[in-house]
Amino acid sequence: MNFREYKIGSRMFGLCLGGSMCITLLMPSYDFRSATSTDVALDKQLSAGWETGWNVYDPLMLGNNKPVKVVVKADPKTGAALAAPVTAYVYRVGTPMPNAADHPGNLGESVEKLSKDKGKIGEFNKATGAVYVIEKDGTTPYIVNKTATDGWMPGDVLGKAADADIAEVGKGKTMFVREGCWWCHTLLPEETQDWQVFGAPPYLGDFNGESPTAFGSDRKAPDLLHVGSRNSSKEWMMLHFFNPRLVQTHSIMPRFDYMWGEKDADGKTINFDQWRADYNDYRAGKKPNPPDVPAYAKDSEIRSLIDFMLSLK
């Protein structure tokens, strides 16, 4: 053990690798910590919830324990109409709180201060759930815990909302990760001509509190970061997910018909074999039209995935 190459070698090795990690990990961490949340980041982390990759609250990645995004038109407490609809993020009883609730440090200094002082984000109670909204002070966005400030309860908000006003974005993001959408679709328009086609690249503060970011690296299909702005048709999304070749002959996207589940919107069992046989007849020229795509049930997985797609503005 007393050869000198051990001593010199291991010290040199530690110096080299440690120096490298200091530059590539420690130094950037100061930049990342100083990033201030934009309203995009607040929207993303509130609608996705604590985590949309694998986590102990959702071990089978079924999209359980996720918040929902609701358009509130009337005050949930009094029932009086609001001057303008408000987007609220509803965390039902037992849903893990967003990252900003217990780690407000990730918001960035100015947003953190407003969210704590005016938005009371520190005063949350998992046992009752919470309702959050995003407000702005000048140009600085911040999170408001409406349960703490105005007594909005999750049950009241959800009870008074129409199903069309509820978007299961958090569950949909889980589906996006689980089904591997990000192997072909990126969530990161590049700083190139993507500006023209897929919209503006994100800003530094657009990701605070989001996990996983799921940028994707291997783009075999259009970027989706702003897809909801380009195409906001639920019907188109429905046809396209069931069988992409229905709306885009040359698409190589897989069919996601299995995300419809067993029953359609009317509770009838979907006969997938019949559908595929009819579709093959249509492709073979034996029928003039493709079969109708079944309407998805309210609690189907595809509903949440479409809600997530349309939330990508």
């Binding site: 120096g19 961490s29 930049d31 089978l60 591997g180 605070n208 989001e210 291997d218 698409s251």
Partner: protein
Amino acid sequence: MLKYLFAKNEDIPSGSAAVFFGFSAILWFVVGTGLGSFNAAKLAFPDFVTGNEWFAFGHMRQVHVLAVILGWISMAFAMAMMYITPILGNTRLWSEKLGLWNCLLWNVGLSLGLTLLWAGIGSGREYSDFIWPIDLYVALFVALPLAINVWMTILKRRVQGIYTTNWFFGGGVFMVIIVYLTGNLPEFFHLTGLSEAYLTWWFAHNVLGLWITPVAAAIAYFTIPKVTGNPLYSHRIGHLHFWSVVVFYSTPAAHHLMSAPLPEWLKSFASVEGVLILVPAIAFVSNILLTMQGKWSMFVESLEVRFTITGVLMAIPLNMQGGFQQTRAINWYIHGTGWIVAHAHLALLGFSTFLEGAAVYLGLQSLMKRKLYSLTLGNIHFWLLLIGFSIYWISMTIAGLIQGAGKIYEVPYIDVVIAEHPYMIARWLGGTLVFISNVIWLYNMWMTARVGTVIPAGRMPHEIAYER
């Protein structure tokens, strides 16, 4: 092999762990390339096996990637370490028993992780897709036992110096543990946002740069001198290679995210450091090729040398691409296209697979003391692998250039998909050839174990390759 798990260490025949690892590696290679070929078929023919989540592209894509990286490539590394490290120290492996348990735990953990991933249960972070309990398992029950065995064998060696290959082995197993534990910090401690995105690519870059590339090169430092009988051309150039890998290759992680809103200083730093990959690359390639002096006929005659030198020659385009494609001027054009997919396969299926293939051929024959069952099948394996890979690499490179042009000239995306279609079919054909070649290899190695001619004591397998 299983009967030795509870035997006394002294009673386990020398080389058992390496043989277990060798066959596991080939088996995972067959599985991994089979999945790759199936995935490629789905990209070429999207209605091939459809309507079932278990055969959906999004569920299978990363199972292919991790089966090949953690199954084939890393297990072949473990196999090489378990027989090369003792040879270079003129000693036995420190613990065959630990080696056997390591291989068993490796196979079990990898099967479990890949099954979960196939079901869609993953972290959503590319390359560190496994859920964090499995990541922790990989670091503690896969990498750490391997590291302990390698380090202890080096410490207990019976020669004075440490040969080049063993620096890389000892350093590589250390670095892969550090990379696994650091790169998965976002999952262990729930770090979010850009920290999560950046650490994902810090992991992805370094698992390639500090584990796969240096360890694959280390194998060539052993195989070529051993089989040709020539001493290594220069130990000093080996030094240069080792230290420049540690210093330069550990730093450019940010060049994977040149289009993300990372700090500009970090992107520029990563880009400059990324070009410096040419230092270890030139050191390595020149060192190995100069070692071949006077023995170039073995490039034709010896299967092991042919595999190794083919891999070393592939390191030239690999590092030319790797050094320059990440600079802003070029990254702008080819980022996120099939070009990168081709480059990744040049690194893993070209460069490192060919180097490891030689180590597994040489190692299994030496350890089992059996001559290769059929040199013809070995040659067929080599050529099918090389041709299949070449078809894949060329078609994906062209597809990537088409995608890049489509991106820059704002072509509607569907037109890019249509233009790429022939190359997707070519990629599938290439991948299928690779899969077929590996099935042949598995058969050949299995028959070698069963009925291969016994190698007389004191002879090397390549010396009697052409004797009947």
